[in-house]
């Protein structure tokens, strides 16, 4: 096994394990911390795919902004010291069995399909060139210029909507 495969295996196991912990832990702050580990694992997976721009964006936006806003929201809405609900119901055994069966069938069928047996070509452009191509494609009118502007409209809607909703009870009272 090449070192790349070993690293991929380790990172995947850590990511999946922490993702399971996110949904099953009782203390919600710990779930948020495991979410940060999961996001870091996804960033490392991006690095392994040689998409370094997206790895950096994952760290910057997800861990640096979204995880922090999540923690702020947890603080806002909970009496943090006392949350002790069990996060799963009594049928978790049956569901686990079904998920495993489904996963085995799924992986079996996919590994025989054409997608997974094709050869992966390494990226031709290195360094700054692939980001440059990405930028050119993003702003090209024949490329993705319209989704680019629509993304800014989406951000505008998120900004205005978020502030409007949060400003109802601004100033001292926990919402």
């Amino acid at each position: 096994m090449t070192p790349l495969q070993i690293v991929f295996l380790l990172v995947s196991i850590v990511t999946i394990f922490s993702a399971i912990l996110v949904v099953s832990l009782q203390k919600i702050f710990h779930a948020a911390l495991w979410l940060i580990v999961t996001l870091m694992g996804v960033a490392i997976l991006f690095v392994l795919l040689e998409a370094s721009f997206f790895a950096a964006v994952q760290i910057l936006v997800y861990i640096g902004a979204i995880a922090i806003i999540l923690i702020f929201a947890i603080m806002l809405t909970r009496n943090i010291m006392s949350d002790e609900e069990i996060q799963s119901n009594r049928s978790w055994g049956l569901v686990l069995l079904l998920v495993l069966v489904f996963a085995v069938i799924f992986i079996n069928q996919l590994s025989q399909s054409a997608i997974f047996n094709s050869i992966l070509y390494p990226l031709e452009v290195q360094g700054q060139d692939n980001i440059m191509a990405f930028g050119q494609g993003l702003l090209d009118p024949a490329g993705f210029a319209l989704p680019f502007e629509l993304a800014s409209l989406l951000l505008l809607a998120a900004l205005v909507g978020g502030v409007y909703l949060a400003m109802d009870k601004k100033g001292g009272e926990a919402k």
Partner: protein, 410 residues
């Protein structure tokens, strides 16, 4: 001759020697790279932490002189062994762990704070081919590492199980995230000017140092990096008179020392980054042929910027929290956005004209925008009218001469 070659480029010579050693031992190529990286990062990390000792001493002496007193001068000549004594003392202090702390966030927080500062050293170019890592997204990596620092602060506040330190941690992290926005926008302008996100390329493309093209951007970046570090005049989160001690209240011994180290080291690290981005990094006369000179140029430039930071720390009073937030959201962010729009537009218009015209136009844009921003911010500051404290003369408190006025003096 060999000595001269070694002296002019010591790091590359040592690296070649180590590679030679590994090849003689029969180590494969991949393991060679891995071990070389391991040795390099261990040396870089340790020397960054050791620089902190010099920094602490220098800062205490300078702040002392600014406040008209001598700094530490008992231990060693001019007190140069003071940080060593401090370090020994803090190593042997008891680690008091309060009850009911959350163990994992409490213990990880100082480590993550120091790690986030150390990671910034990995991408700084020390000379033409000596650097930790030539990431092609180094600028985004810098911003992401700032996010890791905020995370360390929040973990420290949560892990202490103490509502005052949680409050202080949230204030500190709100301050840090607010000041990342103007910093990121100014970095965007720098990337526009140099066409690459890698720090090595940014330094190599600065035939004219970026500070002459973007003095306003440099100023915004400098203010934002001081604020993100949490130093005076933005050190509300650590103000002794306000919140007792802030988010690192429940830490004692070396864990507190780690937060202290992270604070001081971050000041120097952000001046190294500033020097690389705006002042031309390792560039200077003769630095291409003799790489060790590049290293010294970088050191001199970043020491000057760090000194200005310490100077500001010793001179200015602290901001209130609402003033601090108003500075970033109402002044720095719109100003940097305006700078971005104007520079992006004008640079495209001037794409074919000569270098001199570009520089002059940029300087004019910077000063005009600064002036406009200054005028607008002056208008936006509502000065509350001062109430009259004493509206009528109080008879007993008049400082008149009791010899000449017969009824005065009570």
């Amino acid at each position: 001759m060999k000595i001269l070659e070694f002296l002019s480029d010591p790091i590359i010579v040592i690296q070649e020697w180590i590679i030679q050693l590994f090849t003689n031992w029969g180590v494969t190529q991949e393991w060679q790279t891995f071990l070389l990286y391991l040795i390099g990062s261990a040396i870089l990390g340790t020397s960054a932490l050791l620089i902190t000792l010099v920094l602490i001493w220098a800062e205490r002496k300078i702040i002392g002189r600014l406040q008209d007193r001598l700094g530490p001068n008992r231990i060693g000549p001019w007190g140069i062994f003071q940080p060593v004594a401090d370090m020994l003392k803090i190593f042997i202090k008891e680690h008091i762990i309060p009850d009911e702390v959350d163990p994992i966030p409490y213990h990880i927080a100082p480590i993550i704070s120091v790690a986030s500062v150390l990671l910034m050293w990995a991408i700084v170019p020390f000379s033409d081919n000596v650097r930790g890592s030539d990431l092609n997204v180094a600028i985004l990596f810098l911003l992401g590492v700032g996010g890791l620092g905020e995370l360390g602060v929040i973990l420290a506040g949560w892990g202490s199980n103490n509502k005052y330190s949680m409050l202080a941690a949230f204030r500190a992290s709100a301050q840090m995230i607010s000041y990342e926005v103007p910093m990121a926008i100014v970095l965007l302008i720098v990337v526009i000017l140099s066409g690459s996100m890698s720090l090595g390329d940014i330094v190599s493309s600065q035939n004219i140092a970026n500070i002459f093209l973007l003095p306003l951007g440099a100023l915004i970046f400098f203010i934002a990096s001081i604020a993100e570090n949490g130093r005076a005049p933005f050190d509300l989160a650590e103000a002794e008179s306000e919140l007792v001690a802030g988010f690192n209240m429940e830490y004692s011994g070396l864990k507190f020392g780690m937060f202290y180290v992270a604070d001081f080291l971050r000041a120097f690290t952000s001046s190294v980054i500033f020097a690389s981005i705006f002042l031309g990094g390792w560039r200077g006369p003769g630095a291409e042929q003799i790489p060790i000179l590049g290293f010294f140029y970088l050191l001199i430039k970043s020491t000057i910027i760090w000194f200005i930071g310490v100077w500001i720390r010793g001179s200015m009073p602290r901001f209130r929290v609402d003033q601090m937030m108003a500075i970033t959201w109402k002044f720095l962010t719109p100003l940097s956005l305006a700078l971005l729009i104007v520079i992006a537009f004008v640079n495209k218009l001037l794409a074919n004209s000569s270098q001199l015209i570009q520089v002059v136009v940029f300087l004019i844009i910077n000063f005009v925008l600064f002036y406009i921003g200054f005028l607008i911010s002056n208008k936006l500051i509502n000065e509350k009218v001062r109430m009259e404290v004493s509206s009528h003369k109080r008879v007993l408190a008049q400082p008149t001469n009791i010899f000449t006025q017969p009824n005065s003096g009570g």
